[in-house]
Each structure stands twice: as structure tokens, then as C-alpha cells.
């Protein structure tokens, strides 16, 4: 199971990298999303997958799942959600100001005014 998950994380990273290398703004935003999903899956996998028990450690419990990675992923998801929202708005604003969503179109002389 861990091996399968590692491969999935790898595929997500691959897709994300491919999308980030393209020139379309939306694809770049989606690419960052894929990469963050890959990272989240990797956290889950690194901490050890399901051991067949709830994440509760009682007196009788002989086995439990580590709850910490899930808490970490939750935090990381919230952060990447916020950053993605900002990135989308930024992309839209850039489109409104410059009239292009192609990264090539953003090139130009470094004029500060």
C-alpha cells in the first residue's frame, strides 16, 4: 500500500511540474494544487498508513493510527487553499491589467512607472 501511495504522490508531482512549466496562468495555478496534493499524500504515507484502528489511544487499545499527520495535512490544506485563492485572484487581476493570461505576454522592460 505504501509503495502504491508513493507512486501516486510521484505521479501528482509529475503532473504538477508539467502544468507549472506551461505558459497559461490557470494551468500554473492548477499545477501548484497538484504539487500540494502530492505533498499531503506523502505526509500521510510517511507516517505509516492504516493499521486497522481508530486514532484513539485508550487503556484497552493495543493498536492505534497516528493522528498527527492528519492534523498536519489539515493545516497544510487550509494554507494551500488560501494561497490558491490568492493566486487565482492575482491571475485574474493580472489578466485585467495586462490583457493576457500568457506568461510570455508579461515579459517586457523593467519600467517601474
Amino acid at each position: 500500500m505504501e509503495i502504491l501511495m508513493s507512486v501516486i504522490a510521484g505521479i501528482l508531482f509529475m503532473v504538477g511540474t508539467y502544468l507549472i512549466l506551461s505558459k497559461n496562468m490557470i494551468r500554473i495555478v492548477l499545477g501548484t494544487n497538484f504539487i500540494s496534493h502530492g505533498a499531503h499524500i506523502l505526509i500521510l504515507t510517511m507516517a505509516g498508513l492504516k493499521t486497522g484502528a481508530p486514532p484513539l489511544l485508550g487503556l484497552e487499545a493495543t493498536n492505534y493510527t497516528d493522528p498527527l499527520p492528519q492534523a498536519l495535512i489539515l493545516t497544510a490544506i487550509v494554507i494551500s487553499f488560501g494561497v490558491t485563492a490568492f493566486f487565482l485572484v492575482l491571475g485574474y487581476r493580472t489578466y485585467k491589467v495586462t490583457g493576457t493570461d500568457n506568461t510570455d505576454g508579461l515579459r517586457g522592460p523593467d519600467s517601474y512607472d
Partner: protein, 490 residues
Amino acid sequence: MNNIITLPILIPLLTGIFLIFFRSIPLQKWISAIALIVTTGVSAYIIHLISTHGILTLQLGGWEAPYGITLVADMFAALLVLTTAMVSLCCLYYAFGTVGKNRERFYFFSFFLFLVAGVNGSFFTGDIFNLFVCFELMLISSYVLLSLGGERIQLRETIKYLLINIISSMIFVLAIAYLYGITGTLNMADLSVKVAEIGQDGLLTTVSLLFLVVFGLKAALFLYFWLPGSYSAPPPAVAALFGALLTKVGIYAIFRTFTLIFYHQPEVTHTLMMWMAALTMILGTIGAVAHWDVKKIIVYNVIVAVGLIIFGLSVFSSVSLIGSLYYFVHDMIIKALLFLLAGAVIIIARTHKLHEISGLIRHHPYLGWLFFIAALSLAGIPPFGGFIGKVFITQGGLENGDYIVAGIGLFTSLLVLYSVMKIFLNGFWGETILSKKEEGKVKNVLLPCSILAALTILLGLGAEWTYVYFEQAVEGLMNPNFYIQAVLHD
């Protein structure tokens, strides 16, 4: 109780949230200034507490380490927090007169305070995942501050900056995941114990290099390709804040991880760091010397300083670390000062091209001499603040036999002096081409710049007085046991 160490994080954070509900701009200005003054006072008091009581720790929510999140204030972090508070206060006052109504209306001050909260949080946290969260708080505020105003160049640079930081943050998460998979803990003190127990083998060293890449990206250590563009886009007050604080948080993280956790294989990690530092200094200096654009010259100087500070760390002796720390604090002050002065020059001359600026000293003598002091201090001329740091770093490097890199450090300081003197000679001296009416109007410039210049002189002249604090900070860095004892056996 050690609850006081939450205050440098909580005061800016809560004030920032509070300000969102007030649209009145004068009120926002007053409240944010008061918040930062209080933060400065509290940070100074924390330094006093640490010097008398040792490292302060706080287990948040009563969850004992290593299970909960710990806040740790050692002397190293506290010195940086105090400097952050003072520098951001000066930048804030400068911003009052220069950022303009458009930015002020769209919650400029809130995000300014959020950024300070994120920086202070990164300094005080004792948990590596919490470090990631504080980093993100700081970065998200910096994205907003960078893009606020919505000019074309700002938008373009924000996209690049955002993309680089998203990717480096994801590598950060990956590195944390690997570290958690190997050691099963995230508390930095506990990580230090576990890594020492199982031995830093090839796998852990690889993970540590992953951290070096992440923090190197944030600190502009060799991986600085994104920095010259993004730091020259925002208005001067914001650029000063970025130049003084953002890269420094990355440097702080490198210091923390490589003195507390991954210090067992210095022949791999610290050697790599040393050569990255050497290349950073060389490439940064080439940029600073080559450009004839006021903003770009200052921006490349940020990169050179990162190299020098990390060189002090990579030598890893108490002498070089004291030098690094002095230079660290000095650099936060001097970079803010240089950005603010360069911003004033650009506003007055209405251009950032050095060839078109001349003779400003006739109408602005005080500004000119402040710039002169800043330039001397940056290059490390005694008696100013940069001198002591450079002396100790070079001494440590020579004692350790790293003659080449120490030589590079000295040689680049000379060229750094040339690069800023270039602004002084061309911009302030020469024929005055602008009459008083043609010049742009600057407000609120002289007071913050004078305070920062006074601080850098004080750091140099008062070295004997501050040495006690820096020595205590370095003692903590050289002996990870102090930190571990304070966190795990409270």
C-alpha cells in the same frame, strides 16, 4: 509564568485583525504604531528576562513537549525579535508618508502587522511544523504587500514570487514529512535528541540538505534568482521590510536547524553551505557593482550579506558565530536604512536610474550624510555596526583555515563599499540638476532613518555592552543541550 513570550506574536496579530474593522486611516496609523512600540518594549523586557533567568519556554495549551507546540525564547531569537520590532516600527513610520492613500485604504497596516507577527512567530516557535505555519503567515502577508497597488510590474513580480514560494513551501512540507517518517517527532528539541540517538546517517543528511534547499530559497542563499525582481517592485517602505526581515527569517531557520538538529555531519552540510555562501557573495557583488539602478544596487546588497552571515555559520566556531550574529542584527538594521534612503532618493529625483540623478546634497544635506554613514556601516568601516561582525567572521574563518572564503568575504566588502558609494558619488555629489520645485516631496523620512542610523552606530560603539547578550546567544547555539534541557525538562 512565561506567557509574556506570546506577546510579540499576539500583539501584532490581534491588532492587525482589530484594524480591519476600522476604516479611519489616522486611527489605523495610531493603533499600529502603538502596537509596534509595545512590541518593542515587550521584546526588550524578554531579553532582560532571558539574560537573568535563561531560556524561556511555554507549552501552549498545557500540552507538554514533545506532544504539544512549544514556544521557545532563547537569546538568539529574542535579539532578532527586538531588532524586528524596532526595524518594523521605523518602516511603519516611513510608510505613513510614502505608501499613498490607495494602499492605506486596502488594509496595508493590517498586513504589515500580520507580517511582523509571522516573523516573530518564526523566531519563537520550537516546533518545526509550526515554523512552516508561521512562514506561511509571513509569506501570505508579503504576497499581499507586494501586489497591493496593482501596478503591472508588481503583479508580474508577485506571480513569480508566489510561485517560487509555493514550490519551496511544498518542499518544506516534504522535508518535514520525511523527518517525521524517520524520527516520529516534530518538536525541535526532541528532534535534536532523536537525531543524536539514531545518528545522522546518509538518509538524515539528505533530508537536512532538503531543508537547506528550502531555507536557501527563502533566505536567497545561492538560490536568489527570484529576489532582485521581487524586491525592486514594491514601494520603499515595503521593500525595506522585505529586505530587512524576510530573507533573515530564512537565515534564522538555517541557523536553527543546522545548530540544533543537523550538526553531526558538518563536513557535508556545513562545507556545502560554505561554498554556497561564497558563490552568493561573489554573484551578489557582481550584480551590485554592475547595475546603475538605485533599487537594484541595494537589492543585490541584500544577497551579499546573506552569503557573509551564512559563511560565519558554516565555519561553526564560537568566534565566527558571534560575528555572524552581530552581522545578522546589523544587517537587519542597515538594509532597512538603505532601502528607506534609496526610496527617498528615488522619490526626490523621480527616477531610479543613477545616471539621471545628481547633486541631491545641495537641498538634502542631512539625507546625504545619513546615506554616507549607511554606506560606511554596510561595508564594515569602524566604528559602525558592520565592523564588529565582519571582524569576528573573518577571524573565525582564518582560525579555521578557510582562507579562500574569508578572502572572498573581505574582497566583496570592498566592492560592496564601491557599489553604494557609487550612489553617493553620482546621486548626491555633482551638479544639482533639479530645482526645489522639480523635486518630489518626501515626508516622514528623516526621523526613521536617523533612528536606524543611530542604532547601527550604537551597535558599533556599544559592542562591549551588547557583547554579553550576543555571547549568551552563541553559547546557546554551540550547546544544543541548553535548548533541549529548557524545553524537555522544564
